[in-house]
Symmetry: C2
Subunit: 198 residues, 2 copies
DNA sequence: AGCATAACTGAACTACCTGTTTGTTTCCAG
DNA sequence: CTGGAAACAAACAGGTAGTTCAGTTATGCT
């Protein structure tokens, strides 16, 4: 039951048309006609693949997240001493490769559900790591881990969005990941250039 | 040239109708009829106040931001030793008072522009504080201040959204602000309960 | 209290977009 | 080669957006 070549082509066209059009005009301003016209696909064909605009976007996003999950397999953040930052770097590399789609998602286009899904999955993943680390080190968290996970993901996404929207790219992915790792470990007081916590 | 009482009433009705309906069904699912019906206002009246749904939302958000800016006047984050966290607490208090509207904005409803505006204004404000502090302390930033500002605001908003969406409220505003301040100063490594940076 | 004015109302109208259906043509997989 | 699935063009009803306008209040001011 391998996929029909035609459906692959159609889906790819719809995906590309959606992403480029959202970047140009914003999701809300698009009509199904706009998308099918750019994708060079008949209206009826569109509706045989998805219910509506939002559904298309949701599927495209889900595919991307699955791809990301694949890349993240086996990449672990655990060492005896603390954070490696490897999963974060992997995320940034993936985002760089799929820049336009990431920009569209991180802008919160399309009723914001794609971004919410992305966020929630990331929070779940991060929270699991936090719990695990708490167990292995036996450390007592000084701040609610749920809050911590939200803060960490919020920081990641905000920075990633900023990084992807800049032209030209302010720094390579490695440096970005490293900056974020250092910031997370040492705090913003240190990052500002001050020595010793107040 | 005080405002006509009728316009005040109408605007307030539209605002309340919008917020409650977005919470119930999401911005994208709403029609102008839905809004005018709940607000008990004629269709034509709606269009005499704003171009469309998005315009209404934009105005409501702008009003809120102006109100917030008023509250933030005179509240400064500067001391010789570092962060006071007072502006953050003021934000949280305001958000608590206007909970529903904040939730709607932070969810990124309405083509995401209200949230983008909010974010950008906050980043500007925060970046100014960073620059100022760099001057007064003479410290050399170890991380790009622009990145730092994005990260800080992203963290704030993510946590604020989480806090507002919880029922019941996980902790009072003071504690939330304090948690975030400590996290910012000492870093996530410390927050996890570990001692000494790796 | 009375008046000029500005806000609100209700209804009608066009233009556009959605989502569905149908019969036909083209292309793929085995 | 051939059966079947996918893509196609065209047409349809239903609903929403945004505009217009004549007529009805309510408001602020003197």
């Amino acid at each position: 039951m391998a996929e029909d070549r035609r459906t692959r082509r159609t889906r790819r066209s719809l995906r590309d048309a959606l992403v480029s059009l959202v970047l140009e005009r914003g999701f809300a301003a698009l009509t199904v006609d706009d998308i099918t016209e750019r994708a060079d696909v008949a209206r009826a064909t569109f509706y045989s693949h998805c219910r509506d605009k939002d559904d298309l976007f949701t599927r495209v996003t889900a595919d991307l997240l699955q791809e990301l999950a694949g890349r993240l397999e086996g990449v672990t953040d655990e060492t005896a001493v603390g954070f490696t930052g490897k999963p974060l770097l992997e995320l940034f590399r993936h985002a760089e490769a799929e820049r336009d789609l990431y920009r569209v998602i991180l802008r919160g286009e399309g009723d914001g559900r794609p971004l919410s899904t992305f966020t929630d999955e990331s929070v779940t993943r991060v929270a699991a790591v936090f719990r695990e680390r708490a167990v292995t080190t036996g450390a007592e968290p000084r701040i609610d881990p749920e809050l911590l996970a939200r803060a960490w993901v919020g920081e990641q996404f905000a920075v990633l969005r900023w990084w992807l929207e800049q032209e030209p790219r302010p720094m390579p992915a490695e440096e970005l990941a490293d900056n974020l790792r250092m910031l997370a470990v040492h705090g913003r007081y240190w990052a500002s250039g001050l020595n010793g916590a107040p």
